[in-house]
Assembly symmetry: C2
Homo-oligomer: 295 residues x 2
């Protein structure tokens, strides 16, 4: 990673972290609830989704700050999904990013409520923290976020993942589950950035295509990191997919096949980007980052 | 209950049930998820919140159907809260309305996801199923619903309830928890009906006051039913509050004191209603129903 990209990522992350912390601090809510919400919100995520959102706005020449309300809403929904995913009844994970998971610290009941609170509050933040957007656009973003995160999107993918436990998946089934589980929120990041940035129809379509390749690349890289990554960097034991007998890209395509496919999607993402009339240097850098990331 | 009121409640319930079932049926989502969502949605609730919403619109002389999108969103959020509340980590209830609770039938993981799905989909339904409302009004309703259901509302109340377990509460603490846990959604029902029905400022303020008395009356009646109710009607064992050592109105005020307070709130709710220029006969009937209800 270049120093320039690292500085950019750190700067954006700081701006997003500040807004997230502010949004939770100002709540008139029970301290136990705020603490549990804040614990997971400030657990050191990469903020990839909100950074993609803001960078898409920038690529269209618009003011990034227009998207901050949507960006923090998106990160809250991503965070709630991790809290619920880690629960004993779900993946039963004790560690996330090297720290005890939410329910390990606050108990299961409080973790369920912290997740529910973040999910609900996300919609309030989107609607309330976007003063400069038109009501029509805010409504569109609300509908798209609910759709991406709901039964036809992320939650649907979690259910399919649950139902697939112990079954060998085909590559198409694996792709489908990942598209729902992680792809839809990544696509929302880029699509909402495009809408806020005033993309024309061609740019909107292109950016959606870009986001599909990026989402797949992101997931394949995740699976490769589970084999080749450094435990300290990824914050969990290497080899956990293998140990849990999970269907992954390396398992279905071989490690080399997965790497080739990863490169394919990165190349295609870059080709789409170049074809659009955008100031896309940040989006290009982020695409390379997804290829090279260590965590 | 008069035959007239019973017929009215049944008719409204049927209309709401139909829309709820339709909304879930049309989802392109995993069957297991739709089944678990539908199980709790069609578990035979009274639909009190959506009926209050629609009746408030009617009292203002507007077309009830304008509020159907908001009404089903509200009922979905109420239903998700029951599913999560019943989980082993929360109240650990095996029965609700005489049927096994969601996690007893579908397992804990699927019950958590069904709740998450209903909560998220509620916002999509509110925004998508209200074509005739202005964008500005839809946004206002979205913000108010998220606020009423989120960390400063219902979820906050659930956390306070959790933290209060085993502690003796003062009457003010009890009121505060109930205001958050059940009052806020009831107030949203009436306030959103008022906004959709085009209430003027005075009517809006009055209807909010009305909803506060109604919410308190509803909760006190609930506590009394736990002592004097019929197990078959209420769908759970009588005396469970006492057995769980829960703070209730009868415990803090004596049974007679709770009944007096219940009548006070009903009287005050009716006085407020009369003072407003509304076609309020349905709202009056619903107020009497809350006083007399057996379940």
């Amino acid at each position: 990673m270049t120093d320039n990209l690292m500085a950019f990522l750190n700067e954006k992350k700081l701006a997003i972290d500040t807004q997230l912390t502010k949004a939770i601090e100002k709540l008139h809510a029970p301290d136990e609830l705020k603490e549990a919400m804040n614990y997971s919100i400030s657990a050191g995520g990469k903020r990839l989704r909100p950074i993609l959102l803001l960078s898409t706005i920038e690529a269209l020449g618009e003011e990034e700050s227009l998207g901050m309300g949507t960006a923090i809403a998106l990160e809250m929904i991503h965070t709630y999904s991790l809290i619920h995913d880690d629960l004993p009844a779900m993946d039963n994970d004790d560690l996330r990013r090297g720290r005890p998971t939410n329910h390990k610290v606050f108990g299961e009941a409080a973790a369920i409520l912290a997740g529910d609170a973040l999910l609900t509050y996300a919609f309030e933040c989107l609607v309330s923290n976007s003063e400069k957007l038109s009501d029509t656009l805010k409504l569109k973003l609300t509908r798209k976020l609910a759709h991406a995160a709901g039964p036809e999107g992320m939650v649907g993918g979690q259910q399919e993942d649950l139902s697939a436990e112990g079954r060998e998946l085909s590559i198409d089934q694996l792709k489908h589950i990942h598209d729902l589980k992680t792809g839809r929120l990544l696509t929302f990041a880029i699509e909402s950035g495009a809408l806020i940035g005033g993309a024309n129809d061609e740019q909107l379509k292109g950016l959606r295509r870009f986001s599909k390749h990026l989402g797949l690349a992101f997931q394949i890289r995740d699976d490769i990191l589970d084999i080749e990554g450094n435990e300290e960097d990824i914050g969990k034991p290497v080899g956990s997919d293998e140990a849990n007998n999970k269907s992954t890209y390396p398992k279905l395509l071989s490690l080399q096949g997965a790497k080739d496919t990863l490169h394919d999607h990165i190349d295609q993402a870059l080709v789409v980007l170049e074809s659009l009339d955008l100031k896309s240097s940040r989006l290009e850098q982020l695409t390379h980052y997804i290829l090279d990331r260590k965590q």
